[in-house]
Subunit: 334 residues, 2 copies
């Protein structure tokens, strides 16, 4: 069965044409007569012929590949755990494929510190989508400066030389604050880590929204952005300070769910004693009990836009950052 590999020259011979004709025919070049094109294509299908991508890329100097670089904060090489991030990647994948590109899944471990050299000079990809700004943006800056075709999923308000696509995090924070206060919260608390670009915006919006609604008694509980950390922090706080808050705006749904678990275990009623709002709208938000009110990020549109902007860059256009709309999804937790 191990059929032997046909090369373009073999296919051309089978079709009784030259390699250039075969090449053009496969690429549907109108220079070639329609019948010839179809004959070659049919033959290719019959023999399960595939162009050698390596040869093609060498010749064309482009790869038709987009790299997705997952930019984790953690120093230790670690697998990703946040369902939201993975959802973003999955939606990017869809969008990339829809444009006829392939997706190289990468990370800082492989790419090292010279992203331009690795991806572009190394002819591994034509452009890169970075998922997650994280805390340190030096490498992103460096790659952008080197002229790497690049789009970043992060906070679009970032003042940087590269293109960012992301949700309106500030507005999301405002909406959350307003909603909590609307529901009767007098002492809402932000749960997260404003050191991250995106979360700093969410926190800023939260404070602004609360202030505008006349609430100044806001708190900030700074934690690692994992559900475990949220669970621990809420437990710790209840033990030490008692229940001195009546609303939580969590920086992500996973964080919100961790916090809710701690509350439920201590018989703090949600939403009666504490109103909770999350961020992201992951699948679990709807499935948790009580279901979680949250700020929905449109990952589908995000993928679409990230890819569109990257391809625009590749075709030499000047593109700029843009902000995705978000929406508050009201459920039982508030």
């Amino acid at each position: 069965m191990p059929h032997k590999k046909l090369k373009l020259a073999d296919l051309a011979k089978l079709a009784g044409v030259s390699t250039s004709t075969a090449s053009r025919a496969l690429n549907d070049n109108p220079l070639i007569k329609k019948e010839t094109r179809e004959r070659v294509q049919k033959l290719a299908k019959e023999h399960n012929f595939s162009l050698n991508a390596a040869a093609s890329r060498l010749r064309l100097q482009k790869t038709k590949v987009i790299a997705v670089l997952i930019n984790l904060d953690s120093e230790t090489e670690q697998s990703i755990d946040d369902p939201f991030l993975l959802k973003v990647v999955s939606d990017i994948n869809l969008a990339v494929n829809r444009q006829g590109y392939e997706l190289l899944l990468s990370n800082s471990f492989m790419a090292g510190t010279d992203w331009y050299g690795y991806f572009i000079d190394g002819r591994r990809a034509d452009g890169v989508i970075v998922v997650g700004q994280g805390k340190q943006q030096a490498l992103i800056d460096k790659a952008a400066k080197a002229g790497m075709p690049l789009v970043v999923w992060g906070d679009p308000k970032t003042d940087a030389d590269y293109v960012v696509v992301g949700s309106d995090n500030f507005l999301g924070g405002e909406l959350a604050a307003e909603h909590l206060i609307d529901k009767g919260s007098k002492n809402p608390m932000f749960l997260g880590d404003p050191a991250h670009a995106e979360l700093s915006e969410r926190y800023g919006g939260f404070c602004a929204g609360a202030e505008r609604a006349g609430v100044t008694a806001t708190q900030l509980l700074k934690i690692d952005i994992t559900s475990q950390a949220a669970y621990d922090a809420i437990n710790h706080k209840l033990r030490n300070d008692g229940l001195d808050f009546d609303g939580i705006f969590a920086c992500s749904d996973m964080v919100a769910l961790g916090a809710m678990k701690a509350l439920k275990e201590r018989y703090v009623s949600i939403p009666n004693d504490v109103h909770v709002v999350g961020f992201d709208d992951i699948a679990m938000a709807d499935i948790s009990f009580p279901s979680l009110t949250t700020i929905r990020q449109d990952t589908r549109q995000a993928g679409e836009l990230l890819v569109k902007k990257l391809l625009a860059q590749l075709s030499g256009q000047k593109v700029s950052s843009s902000q995705l709309e978000i929406a508050l999804i009201e459920r039982q937790s508030s």
Copy 2:
């Protein structure tokens, strides 16, 4: 800034050696004098030199790329939603990188029906890891027959010509049944769809375990394997049949969480009225309230093993399927 691309020949000139020496030096070929090697390598680093992967692949006839093919059942192109699957991919990614390979993230949309042609002949990857056997395995079979280096994440008991790595699903089912009965369940129910290879094993083990424990009053509630479907199905069943079960073995954690939501909304107590056991041990299992007893699958080891077996195949070794150990993690839901 846009530095211009160095090719190997340029680097060689800078180093005052021939391209062949430069090439060997970069690959740490001991044929080259140590000092020369180091001089070339240092120069390469200084100039951010990267080999052109396309040229290298064309010459070597191998890519140092492993493709991961996510095999979804759904006809419609769709983004993946199950956090467990994504966790598996993420752990494969880690393992692939650790071996110095890169990861091409693909799907049936891109690969079409001739996987051998697309990946191997097309020189896109040296081998493929398929995640998810799904219901239809014809394409996997076809690729395996064609001689494609291939490892599948699925049920290792599968009687097939290809190598499968997966958990001991049957044992998992048995453990779940025994545990439920141990906890006092007299009428345990399986929630899932035995049409999937892996789930059929889980169901088989569940039945066998129950029978051995002297319980014959098991039920099967056949549903799509999503949390939403589980939620709907449990609601529907409670409305129609009342509470005629006192234990649930869900085919996945997401399904279990959906079922639990329906139970909680109708004030059915977990675990007092109904004991619940899930499968996978996703992050949410620990965060849900009550936390979810489940069968843990070791995705880290899975990634490691999948890659190891694939690389063994690439180096011409004969490899066979193998089973990962699973463990019951007892939490509050049972």
